[in-house]
Symmetry: C2
Subunit: 489 residues, 2 copies
């Protein structure tokens, strides 16, 4: 399985591609830029979905479903929005095929749509057109709705999970009576995303706002969580937008407020996608394969018996089944791999490669001594324990691994985040894969020039960085805060 | 809420449309034939999904995800398949919009796809093209994969849930080493569907096979579950297909068997969709609104306080919160509606209309006497109970309602299923909305003539009807079994 597996040091990008395919997470499909998410990868995504869905519901949101297609004319209604998405839209123009002379099928020219349909790249327009019918009075507000769906953005350069033409995501779309309430909602969902990233994915994130250049097309403010990958590049892991009244105005969505006056509704939208799978992989995995945080691992514990004959296996199985039952009773997912067709060593490598957090091996000597060998995936450390202790030790170990992965990733980010005050140093450090805290004069022009010269972008105006007077790293103009620069996925 | 609500007797079809919209289940969207599934409707669908997903996993299946788009050329590979779906395909021809002179956007003619992409109407072709890469040896089999997804079939006449251009569904696609194993899988999933329909939806179903005319495009055998709606029409609620080696041959998917010989792989596919929502509504609901079986009701118990002032409400709430906690501890979903903005009578009507299985009312006199009034939605019967008994009574009542709904629907079907042996009686009874057990000569020709003359179709060759010699109801030719005729949705 792990033979000829590219090392991170050799080529980080190839290591990633290799890992995604060989760990059975996803593969490229016959359709340009679209991926197949394989069962093991999808099982991780399902765990992410379940955790996020619960958090959304706990904060008062409900799920719904809106059409895949958006009439082309809806797109022009919000000027920034159409400018942002028009260049990467899949367009449906016909609704029928017909048999052709060559024995194949061709598009039936008689079945041309009057108005073309866009495959949704995001759903603000179709949803706000729908909300118009749902909202008359302040009593109809707020609307707190989320949808789990597929979306399509015709990206030219695609990479599995990180950037694909079709991807899976959730998109929350909320409607509010006041600006304050909508702003609070956008912030609340940012916190939900950060909580999920840190406590489930064990991935530390920086919470911040985007510069106008990097905002969502149609938003007044875009909040984001940004994570550092192992190569020092940034990955935008989730965004939450305060949309003001832009979409309400574009789709004429008004309500009678308590004073019986007509007002436009305030909006937010927020989303995370299968891109999180890429973030998860690139935050923790190593040269031995995937490393999964216990809270998102489809298999949390793999147990491998070491045996020479059926009798030995039966003896081991009796013990293992008791351990397995004790762990499962605590909600831990355990796989007992008693296949005869593969050797223990092959299985060890396999579970290591698949990122299973804990592996337990039980052999004949363990049987005699009442012990088992436990190997933790994050450090690959092995230790021997009394079988009777495992029901207590393993849950604690899973917690410890979850915590350690977060701490390790946090330390990596902190070790690679630096303050820089000269342009020379900036150019040097950005090449080394650092997060750079530097002063910026606040203009889009300077932001663009820095990007052109170094490929670094402003990842976030961190919510946690204090105000500080200084001079722009590039223009020398006055600045009132440092912002975070990095190269990004 | 329920004012001017169409009665079933007056116009069954209008009653259904009215109910779907006014109970907040779904509505038509701005896109022809596509629906918006509203939060309350989606919550029911989520409960269906959760139950089905567990059943799939309990029978060894895993979820995965395949692309939304299918290259047009894949469609021609399996002749029956393309013939079945070509006439209702949404076709993507371009991948970019551009600003036009009128200030809107138009399709960029320069961004035409080399090969058109079909929005999946079903995924056999893209999945079997993928399986080609997954299968080399018998050791790679079986593959037991399911996907939850949206699909598009460009239907001309659409109705919310029953027939929409886009719908949500699951599609299982399995690959096997032998014919026997694939046939057994198709049968197993039929049983899973029947189990779900009867035990969760409380909807009795007939298990059977389809005639060649009604088979899935590309299948050797289509198994189905058929249910009777309240108007006597049939609704196909789920299908499971034995596909033979058709798709393996079309996509050249072979494997080395244990004797080291190359063989084509055997296949099944099976699916149920949001159409089940329509079946659920039309099986149980009445002139007072929705009736939901407890196992699929998002709110199982609604509690309404009757109070004149804040002090009374506080006293009632104290009691109600204890009841609520006791029910929730048993996994029952309870809504305590203590809003001051609506009168109790309005709330009663609302929960009745939304199909909440049990409503509890607690007023000042109940407080004095330690009682509560319980109303069950299926029969609208009211009874008074000691508050202290509710934690025990309510779970039993929910079971009783679940059982009663099934029994009631079964009796309705049995009362409206008849054996018919003359063509005159056939024509008369089919108009009355009956399931007719009649002899058929086994030819597609006769089947088509009967359909042309009466709109009745053969719903199923029931697996439970015994062999019986007779004469075809239409042609008078010899027949060896009765089949089920009905008009259908």
């Amino acid at each position: 399985m792990a033979k000829n597996f590219t090392k991170r040091e050799e080529n980080y990008s190839e290591w990633y591609n290799d890992l995604v395919v060989r760990a059975d997470l996803a593969e490229s499909s016959a359709v340009r830029g679209c991926m197949v998410i394989k069962p093991y990868g999808y099982a991780i995504w399902e765990k992410m979905q379940a955790a996020l869905d619960k958090m959304f519901k706990d904060t008062g949101h409900q799920n719904a479903y809106f059409p895949l297609f958006i009439p082309k004319s809806f797109f022009s209604r919000e000027a920034d929005h159409v400018a942002g998405f028009a260049k990467e839209c899949a367009v449906v123009t016909h609704y029928r095929l017909k048999a052709d002379e060559a024995g194949g099928v061709s598009v039936d020219p008689a079945a041309r749509l009057e108005e073309e349909l866009i495959v949704r790249p995001t759903s603000e327009t179709i949803i706000w057109n729908t909300y118009k019918g749902w909202i008359q009075s302040y009593r109809d507000l707020p609307i707190l709705v989320n949808q789990w769906a597929n979306v399509v953005r015709w990206e030219m350069r695609t990479r599995l999970f990180l950037r694909t033409a079709e991807f899976l995501w959730q998109e929350g779309h909320t409607a509010h009576a006041t600006r304050e309430e909508a702003e609070a909602e956008a912030r609340r969902m940012l916190d939900v995303y950060a909580d999920f990233a840190e406590n489930f994915m064990a991935m530390p994130v920086i919470k911040g706002t985007k510069t106008p250049n990097e905002r969502f097309a149609g938003a007044l403010e875009t909040y984001c969580i940004e994570a550092m990958m192992q190569d020092g590049k940034a990955l935008q892991a989730g965004t939450s937008h305060f949309l003001g009244q832009n979409f309400a105005k574009a789709f004429d969505v008004t309500f009678l407020n308590k004073e019986n006056k007509l007002e436009h509704v305030w909006a937010t939208s927020w989303g995370v996608s299968t891109r999180l799978m890429g973030a998860l992989i690139m935050t923790h995995s190593d040269d031995h394969g995937l490393v999964l945080p216990p809270k998102l691992a489809p298999i949390q514990v793999a147990i491998v018996p070491i045996f020479k004959n059926a009798e030995q296996l039966a003896q081991i199985s009796e013990k293992v089944n008791a351990i397995k039952a004790a762990l499962e009773a605590q909600g831990i997912s355990v796989k007992y791999d008693d296949r005869d067709s593969q050797k223990p060593g092959w299985k060890f490598t396999e579970y290591e490669f698949k990122g299973v957090p804990v592996r337990i091996a039980v052999g004949p000597r363990d049987l005699e001594e009442g012990t088992a060998e436990v190997c933790r995936r994050d450090t690959l450390e092995k230790s021997v324990h009394a079988m009777d202790d495992l029901a207590k030790f393993i849950p604690a170990l899973l917690d410890e691994i979850q915590r350690n992965l977060f701490e390790r990733a946090l330390k990596h980010r902190e070790d690679n985040t630096i303050k820089v005050d000269t342009w020379e140093e900036f150019k040097e450090k950005i090449e080394q894969g650092k997060f750079i805290l530097a002063h910026w004069d606040g203009t889009s022009e300077t932001e663009q020039k820095i990007k052109d010269e170094t490929k670094a972008t402003i990842r976030a105006l961190s919510l946690d960085l204090p105000a500080e007077e200084g001079k722009c790293i590039y223009s020398g103009q006055p600045s009132h805060r440092r912002v975070i620069f990095a190269k990004a996925y």
